[in-house]
């Protein structure tokens, strides 16, 4: 397969590395007007600026661009190549998501996946296996915190420029947590939200507190933050027969901590040494294959001509609807 890779920033480089290792990928052509082909050792794989996009020579597209061009490129790629992998978020807002949706409808045999790789983190996959008949029973509630420290260049990043990104930390990181909530609880609705821009003053939220509920009334609570001075990823899943706490993940710098899953089994006085201190097991994971799995699954779907198992249009719709509802009901306060 020959792949067009739009955008060679943080995500583009990650996808490029995975694509280069994949046995079915013959060629990856990078399209990014902001990189100098001569500065990078990419074997002439970068399309020269202003050169027309060689759609006809390629089989699928990866959209790894800033949010303001995502929807246009995704829709165009769908119409030209039918096979598209698109980073989250699927557009800056609901209207842009609808633009992608419309393009997808006009190409019935499309293969479209969105990059929600957190579903494939080993701690999340292990947690899924333990729910329901896996031993822990039904989910009673979910609580997640996902945040970063910002950093000295925070205000300059396109991610915090509303024109380019469409939103703040909720749309950047919080969307992953909302996606995970729906993975564990099914479709959710928004109950209440508070969005603040109290520190960075970029005109987009730097903190989002969101209360949601599932189809059977199960509560879910999200704190998405750009003022967590310690990088944090933590999700707690309370179940009938115990609880799970997934935290940390493998990033380049390791700043989110070692990825682990705490498995606690409900024990009352008759089983535990002391009430409220049940036996826990902690699984540590030292390999994150989520990027590989996500890309491999998409390429397998392309080869087999079937819908991908992860990051479907429907899942993207559900999560973008939540983001839309949160922004619609809540002004960002300073």
């Amino acid at each position: 397969m020959n792949i067009l890779l739009f955008g060679y920033g943080y995500m583009g480089k990650i996808r490029h590395a995975v694509l280069r290792r994949h046995p079915a990928v013959r060629r990856v052509t990078i399209v990014d007007p902001f990189i100098d082909p001569k500065m990078l050792d990419l074997d002439g794989a970068v399309l020269p600026p202003c050169a027309p996009v060689p759609w006809e020579e390629h089989d699928a597209a990866f959209i790894c661009t800033p949010n303001n061009v995502t929807a246009d490129l995704c829709a165009q790629s769908l119409r030209r190549l039918r096979r598209v992998f698109c980073e989250k978020p699927p557009g800056r807002n609901w209207e842009e998501f609808c633009q992608i949706d419309e393009a997808a409808r006009s190409v019935p045999d499309h293969v479209l996946a969105f990059g929600f790789n957190h579903r494939l983190h080993p701690s999340i996959q292990a947690a899924l296996a333990l729910l329901g008949e896996g031993g822990l029973g039904e989910v009673l509630y979910v609580k997640g915190t996902y945040g970063k420290s910002g950093g000295s260049q925070y205000r300059e990043s396109w991610r915090n420029n509303r024109e380019v990104s469409g939103g703040g930390i909720l749309l950047d990181q919080g969307i992953h947590m909302l996606d995970l909530f729906q993975l564990f609880l099914g479709p959710l609705t928004v109950v209440e939200a508070v969005l603040t821009d109290s520190f960075w003053k970029c005109g987009v939220e730097d903190n989002a507190f969101v209360l949601l509920k599932g189809g059977r009334g199960q509560p879910a609570f999200l704190h998405s933050s750009a003022t967590l001075w310690k990088h944090t990823f933590r999700i707690e899943i309370g179940c009938e027969n115990g609880y799970l706490k997934a935290s940390g993940f493998l990033s380049k710098t390791g700043s989110y901590g070692r990825e682990q899953l705490v498995i606690g089994k409900r024990q009352f006085e008759d089983e535990a040494f002391s009430l409220g201190n049940p036996r826990e097991e902690i699984i540590h994971f030292d390999r994150d294959e989520s990027w590989d799995k996500e890309v491999h699954e998409f390429l397998a779907a392309v080869q087999e001509g079937r819908p991908p198992h992860h990051g479907s249009l429907e899942e993207a719709r559900q999560v973008m609807k939540l983001v839309h509802d949160i922004y619609a009901m809540t002004p960002v306060t300073q």
């Binding site: 080993p122 996959q125 333990l130 540590h284």
Partner: protein, 319 residues
């Protein structure tokens, strides 16, 4: 790859009390020496690296050799294969007799040793989405675990095979998706033949579960050959964690889990010190043993997290 730690705790006295070990240990040693009267096989190379073993100490006159690359220990002189088979059977029979702590603490061992193993296997099967596999357990008969495996309903079929029978691979054996070598590599007189035969019997993608007492773990590293739990034939082979992982990898297994979720390292050293205060310990080790419960628990937890407890458990997939 993953590793697991646990906050579950139980006292040494509940599973293998040191003060009740003597009769079992004496039986093991006397029977091993008796078996050696039937002949002697010299083991000179490490089953892990095939490098020469360096003599490193003895237990009751039985010499062990060290694999210099991995730090693993191996009994250097073995009786003939048939005598070894007989020895393991006799020792297993003794374990089920009222003279052995295994018998007197059977209930407690079932709750604290076997049920957690069953839970581990069950959870791993869930994580790997393996449903109703056939299982081979390599253990001397009668197995204490097989009844629990059958009762669990997790497996479509269950086979128990002794180390020696399992080492003889045969084409007419039914293939299995899961194989259990729970301390079986510790007591095999030929761990390479055993692992190769088990590998052949497993389907590609099948899961291998291994537990072992590893000599890189805290109580073994501190006590060395003074560790009274270190006794042949159960401990003919003392892999280090590094040695064990290398060994499995060399036979074409991909590691999915490497954990040392032991809870007894400090207590084992403490029990030896109480029994024999002259056991050589460093100032730091003495300080640790005399520290409060919170510090000792914190240290045991550190051992688990860093792969430094002597109880190791691994899961590997046949490539």
């Amino acid at each position: 790859m993953r590793s697991v730690e646990t906050n579950s705790s139980f006292p040494l006295s509940a599973v293998k009390p040191l003060e009740e070990l003597a009769s079992y240990r004496e039986f093991c040693l006397s029977q091993t020496l008796k078996a050696l009267q039937q002949g002697r096989r010299k083991r000179q190379i490490s089953p892990v690296t095939h490098q020469p073993l360096e003599p490193c100490g003895e237990t009751a006159g039985l010499e062990y050799g060290r694999c210099s690359q991995t730090g693993s220990f191996f009994l250097m002189t073995l009786p003939p294969a048939s005598a070894w088979t007989q020895l393991l059977e006799e020792v297993n029979r003794f374990r089920h007799s009222p003279e052995a702590f295994h018998f007197t603490h059977a209930r407690s061992r079932s709750d604290r040793v076997y049920l957690p193993k069953l839970e581990w296997i069950q959870e791993t099967l869930r994580f790997q989405r393996l449903v109703s596999p056939a299982v081979l357990e390599v253990a001397p008969s009668p197995s204490d675990l097989m009844p629990l495996l059958k009762e669990s309903g997790l497996f479509s079929k269950g086979f128990t095979s002794s180390e020696q029978d399992a080492s003889k691979s045969s084409l007419d054996q039914e293939p299995v998706e899961v194989a259990l070598l729970l301390e079986a590599l510790d007591r095999s007189d030929d761990p390479e033949a055993l692992l190769e035969a088990v590998r052949k019997r497993m389907v590609t993608g099948g899961l291998l579960f291994v537990t072992a007492l590893v000599v890189s773990g805290f109580d073994m590293a501190v006590l060395g050959m003074n560790n009274l739990y270190w006794v042949p034939p159960d401990r003919a082979n003392g892999f280090s964690l590094k040695g064990l992982t290398q060994f499995l990898t060399r036979f074409g297994f991909n590691l999915l889990e490497v954990s040392t979720p032991g809870v007894l390292d400090l207590e084992i050293v403490q029990a030896h010190r109480q029994r024999d205060p002259s056991i050589p310990l460093s100032v730091f080790e003495r300080q640790l043993l005399e520290s409060d419960e919170q510090t000792r628990m914190g240290f045991q937890s550190f051992l688990q997290q860093q792969g430094l407890s002597s109880f190791a458990r691994l899961v590997a997939r046949k490539a």
